[in-house]
């Protein structure tokens, strides 16, 4: 039934206060009358069309940061201007498309096969903050993951050890070192730290001898205790084995280190550090074990149970001043380098023996 609004006639004079009067909503409703009965029936009276009327409105609350950033992305040729139409003239949508475009041009497809990273351009580092904390004219490009990639190092290290006992440690430093400059890699060093913490915690216990701890040192290949090759020795050795599978693996690891050195990790200011003071360590982007279910993995599994008790800090935080072209260029250069390192790591992972599994997105 239609709702009659007869209770507020147009010219009713105001009267002195006399309290309130309560009436049901249905008061004055005309029985049996519906809207369609009040309209013409097939006599040319039809419901009006709305051609030309916009059916969407976008409210951009933070345009003072989004628009200068979008402008700089176009001027610096980081993103094509054509995305503006695809973004339906929304600066926030444009920035998102620009970020996705940058990722795709820096190995996005390869990265997705082994990593579940998410790049976020944000004005606030605390995802769960009730209100957006204004950080002046500053944005952050962050890199987060909800799960770790997985690599089994053992078979590769054995292959390299057969050529030179110092090659496994050299390979590990090139690959894991180049990657962990940008993302958190959980390796035997994290596991040793965790196992040591368990030992210290058990020392005061009355039945300390009953505790068992993962034997991290025991799962470490002997070749990892060798000194890594120097730059000159490595170059000479690479020249002799370049065409072999081991040489190709080594070549990819060298490439990861080379790309990684194309940028420097940004230094975070004290106020950013303070904002993250209650956060847990970043979720590792990669778990590097020597063999499946070894002591490193056992420590990782144990640590993972508590890793999300409080929100973890991102793997990487790149501050951006959206209206400063140099800052935008520098930030996207760093981010592009990180994507290139991740993509090169995926290419290496897919060559490493014993790692055909653990593809997250074929």
């Amino acid at each position: 039934m239609p709702y009659s609004a007869g209770s507020f006639p147009a010219n009713r004079p105001l009267r002195p206060s006399r309290g309130t009067r309560v009436r049901p909503v249905a008061f004055n409703t005309t029985p049996g009358l519906v809207a369609t009965q009040l309209m013409g029936n097939n006599n040319g009276l039809t419901l009006p069309r709305l051609n030309g009327i916009p059916v969407e409105h976008h409210l951009v609350v933070d345009a003072q940061r989004a628009i200068p950033l979008a402008t700089n992305l176009v001027r610096l040729h980081i993103a094509p201007a054509e995305l503006w139409n695809e973004a339906r003239r929304d600066p926030i949508a444009y920035i998102q498309l620009a970020l996705a475009h940058w990722i795709e041009s820096h190995g996005g497809e390869a990265i997705r096969r082994r990593f579940t990273y998410c790049a976020t351009l944000t004005s606030c580092l605390d995802e769960f903050a009730q209100e957006d904390k204004q950080n002046g004219n500053r944005l952050y490009l962050t890199l987060d993951t909800e799960s770790a990639g997985y690599v089994v190092l053992g078979p590769t290290l054995e292959l390299l050890e057969a050529i030179d006992r110092r090659l496994p440690h050299t390979f590990f430093n090139l690959f894991v070192g180049g990657l962990s400059k940008w993302i958190r890699v959980y390796d035997y060093r994290d596991a040793e730290e965790r196992a040591e913490m368990y030992r210290e915690m058990s020392e005061g216990e009355p039945n300390a001898e009953e505790y068992e701890f993962p034997d991290v040192a025991g799962c470490l290949p002997a070749s990892m205790k060798e000194e890594p090759l120097g730059e000159g020795d490595l170059s000479r050795l690479r020249a002799t084995i370049a065409a072999t599978p081991a040489g190709q693996l080594l070549g990819h690891a060298v490439e990861i280190e080379r790309i990684s050195n194309q940028a420097e990790r940004p230094t975070l200011s004290d106020d950013v550090r303070a904002e993250l003071s209650d956060a847990n360590p970043p979720v590792p982007g990669l778990l590097a074990v020597f063999s499946i279910s070894d002591a490193v993995e056992a420590c990782f599994e144990e640590e993972a149970q508590y890793a999300l008790e409080t929100p973890p800090e991102p793997n990487l935080i790149i501050p951006i001043k959206p209206d400063d072209a140099r800052s935008v260029r520098a930030a996207f250069h760093i981010f592009g380098t990180v994507c290139d390192v991740l993509a090169a790591s995926v290419r290496l992972l897919e060559m490493m023996p014993g790692n055909s599994e653990w593809v997250v997105s074929p």
């Binding site: 206060s17 049901p24 059916v55 990722i103």
Partner: protein, 90 residues
């Protein structure tokens, strides 16, 4: 790798309904029409239905934070949870 943007509190509003008000010199009623889009992308009004106070409540909540809860006009009309209109005289 997924790309996200989280800057401020941006919103997208879509035209979903239109209110048609019919009146003569003394009485009025209103109908609520869904806005649909035809195959060519042009919006049009679907047949109307009665305007309910529940809809008005949602609308008033969404219109602005500055409107005091339940207030429908600056003169007299208020809506309460019992579904009645309370008329107050100034």
């Amino acid at each position: 790798m997924e790309a996200r943007v989280r800057i401020g509190g941006n919103r997208n509003f879509t035209l979903k309904y239109a209110v048609m008000i019919y009146t003569d010199t003394s009485t009025a009623f209103a109908t609520l029409h869904e806005v649909r889009v035809d195959s060519e992308g042009s919006p049009y009004l679907a047949p109307g239905r009665s305007l309910t106070t529940a809809f008005l409540r949602r609308l008033s909540q969404g219109l602005a934070r500055f409107i005091r809860e339940g207030q429908l006009s600056e003169e007299f009309l208020y809506e309460r949870d019992n579904g009645r209109i309370v008329e107050e005289f100034g």
